[in-house]
Symmetry: C3
Subunit: 138 residues, 3 copies
């Protein structure tokens, strides 16, 4: 069966913490037996997402600012009224960004752009461990 399931964990700080996970994903792909295929990067949980960005502090800050501007922390969230955990903004942000990203690879190398990194974006309102699943199909 041409599927390999891997995972790793990391510490994230929440509040749109952007964590570069490119090398972790690339290592999983390069150490496997499949030359060509796709890698699905998935974060379990409903307060984080996965995407790509040029991972330099300016663009990361700009993403954080845009998220804060469009999905403010300090407006009323029904989730907070019901559950009291104060992370209603986190849930909305994560649902819009999405928890999954599928990246093609060839010759055991991810077909990313030179300035394109895979990132986990942690939207929660507290630091926590995150598990990331990488499902390689090829």
């Amino acid at each position: 069966m041409p599927v390999r399931s891997s995972k790793f964990s990391l510490s994230a700080k929440g509040f749109t913490d952007v964590v570069d996970i490119t090398s972790k994903v690339a290592e999983i792909v390069s150490s496997g037996t499949m030359d060509d295929g796709i890698a699905t990067v998935f974060v379990p949980g409903s307060t984080a997402g996965v995407t790509t960005i040029e991972f330099e502090s300016g663009a990361v800050r700009d993403l954080r600012d845009a998220v804060d501007r469009l999905f403010p922390r300090d407006i009323r969230y029904d989730h907070n009224e019901r559950w009291g955990d104060g992370n209603g903004f986190s849930h909305v942000r994560a649902a819009v960004l999405g928890p999954s990203l599928t990246i093609p690879f060839s010759g055991k190398a991810l077909l990313l752009g030179t300035w394109q990194q895979i990132v986990l974006v942690d939207f929660d309102n507290r630091p926590r461990r995150r598990e990331v699943i990488v499902q390689v199909v090829g």
Copy 2:
């Protein structure tokens, strides 16, 4: 060929109706012959999307409110001027959320978080039937 194509349909009300489809997708994966792989959940059509959220009424309401705030119904949409069907806001919302979600599974179980549900989000401006495609590769 390690691919199985399934589909199901559901009734959606439009106007950012968020429908929990987790059990439908999970049943397709658990009833198949593949132990490990990925399931791509896809909604045909240009006025709906797929993502994950903690499916409780507060977070669902918060997502709906955020979408209404960021992509208002009552501003000018060029699509409406041309076609008169009044769902210009639906098209923009669906394009941003995206129609596709790929979820890893292992041991015939989706690798979702405990509080993470798969949802179809119907952005149209009227009730309608929706077909959802689940393509399982493993």
Copy 3:
């Protein structure tokens, strides 16, 4: 190995240029040997994204307007302060839309809706060539 890697290139104008790539992707799928599977459409680079939309000039304009409204060009971007290339807005927009889309196919035909087209959205601030990768697994 049931994987086929293809790519094509196109000219894009930037500034939320929306380019219909449906026929290119459909041709790759229909000319292959796999009947059923998934096609992952991926754009390398950190200033473009992939999604679906009803490709008519009204909806395309509406998407462009929404992007300009939500992620303005003329506010401060930290990326611009650091690198001087003036495309901070492009990076944020691309990170939110995402670079990847996975579409199921059956009988060598993409399972898209009738009015649903696959589009590359170029967010950069200048015209450029874009490469699009289509990884077919089935």
